[in-house]
Amino acid sequence: MLILIAIWEAISKFEVFPSFMWPPFIIPNDPGGVTVVKTLVNGLISGQLLLATGTSLWRLILGFVIAVIIGLLLGFLIYKYKIVDDTLGFFVTSLQAIPNLVWMPIAILWFGLGVESVIFIVILGAALSITITSSTAFKSVPPLLIRVASTMGSSGFHLFRTVIFKSTVPQQIAGLRLAWALAWRSVLAGELLGGSGGLGTLLDLGRSIQAMDLIFSIMIIIGVIGSFIDNFVFVRLERMVLKKYGIQTTP
């Protein structure tokens, strides 16, 4: 990390690229000049970056929650009814092959430039992924556990709640983790193109006013949030569940 920063500074100091293209990281090139860290700190203090981050995260969470609900429901229907699997299941797999961003023109035409478009592609991307992982998870519930539960007198929703769903929890979490990463990418891509506030729009602003320090600050925030949520939420959750279920993981 330190070495990377040192190399960064060196490139900037020797002016390999003009400083608007490669701003210094910590030490300004001329007194009072811009640095990435300064922009980052100022942005956070003034609230501009914080506000944008909040906007993006809020959209992400809203879209993700809706996507989880849709994804689990569709996944369950695909598992439960063969006809849905043959029709919708195939369709979903094909749709998944289309990168999220490709939907943006359609979203803009349908919903206009704004929050709706961004949330639309977040939902679309994450829901498709969750549909696939959750239907696979439901299909892999050991039949033995279902038989055990039915011989004990469980059926219908009780059977689903206490056995079928519980048994898929480890796979569902792995699926959510994947979908979360997709959703995070979609939010930023959507904001970049759809321009309705948030980190993505700020990135686009940075590009148009040639403020490379701003662009780098935002990229740092994006990276930090992405890996923070992955490591501190999903990886921990996954480890906890795997330990509880006694699933061996290869070290």
């Binding site: 033995l144 039915s150 011989t151 007198g153 056995v163 048994s167 699933i247």
Partner: protein
């Protein structure tokens, strides 16, 4: 004791692999099981013994024929008939105690009462100490004990066991045989026990139903009249074991001939002394 508990009449079961030629898993099975009886279904794989058990459990539906339990027809699974499977099938996300309590809570037994009954049964299978362990922390034999406790805590009238000890090592199996026999004598449950192990069937059962293949059905029924508790070295049991083995070998030969072609012959000692002393009768 003499009351008829389960009556199977002309049970047929066919699987439709393709439209024209259904595979017949069970052909015309008629069997009556008395209350409190320990009956084994014994036979090679593919004889439909597990299918028959599943039909009694209500997990599968017979194609034709009638099945009465306490003079009432069976509609689906019910908690008067609990199945113990070959693999314990414990829910990995629940502690041992929660696993045992699972069925009780479905029966709407209050939580404290369910807890108490579950602990009682765990103690009876000598796993009281492991109530709060997770299933993956237990050995195979311990898991199977939990599965048995989980079934018996429901106080079913009928306990259906589908090769419950087949995946265990010999020592563990012998211990569990003794414990099962003890539990059976204390509770007086009707037990139907599916196995492919002759010794296991002979040591445990009141009656052994030997099954045949292609089509699956009953070949012969052997009563076991040895005194209980059984000792596996009892000469009566050993004789019976040989008699069943002879019949089973004929069955196996039939299967192997079909599978491997007619040139196959099982090396059978045809001069075996028949336990009934009618020497050479099966030459």
């Amino acid at each position: 004791m003499a009351e008829e508990h389960i009556i199977l009449k002309n049970i047929h079961k066919g699987f439709h692999r393709n439209e024209d030629t259904p595979t017949i898993a069970l052909d015309d099975v008629t069997l009556t099981i008395k209350k409190g009886e320990f009956v084994s279904l014994l036979g090679p794989s593919g004889c439909g013994k597990s299918t028959l058990l599943n039909i009694i459990a209500g997990l599968e539906k017979e194609s034709s024929g009638s099945l009465l339990v306490n003079d009432r027809p069976i509609k689906g699974p019910g908690n008067d008939r609990i199945v113990v499977f070959q693999e314990s099938g414990l829910f990995p996300w629940m502690s041992v105690l929660d696993n045992v309590m699972y069925g009780l809570l479905i029966k709407k037994v209050p939580k404290e009462e369910a807890n108490k009954r579950a602990m009682d049964w765990l103690q009876k299978v000598h796993l009281g100490k492991f109530a709060n362990s997770m299933p993956h922390e237990l050995s195979g034999g311990m898991k199977q004990r939990v599965a048995i406790a989980r079934a018996l805590v429901m106080d079913p009238e009928i306990l259906l066991m589908d090769e419950p000890f087949a995946a265990l090592d010999e020592q563990t199996r012998m211990v569990l045989h003794k414990e099962l026999e003890k539990i059976w004598r204390e509770t007086g449950k009707t037990i139907i026990f599916v196995t492919h192990n002759i010794r296991e069937a002979v040591v445990l059962s009141d009656r052994i139903v030997l099954m045949k293949t292609r089509p699956g059905g009953i070949k012969n029924i052997f009563p076991v009249q040895a005194a209980r508790p059984r000792i596996s070295s009892d000469s009566l049991l050993i004789h019976l074991e040989n008699r069943i083995l002879t019949e089973l070998e004929q069955e196996m030969e039939k299967v192997l001939k079909e599978e491997l072609g007619s040139d196959y012959a099982l090396k059978t000692d045809h001069l075996r002394v028949d336990p009934h002393s009618n020497m050479g009768s099966d030459i």
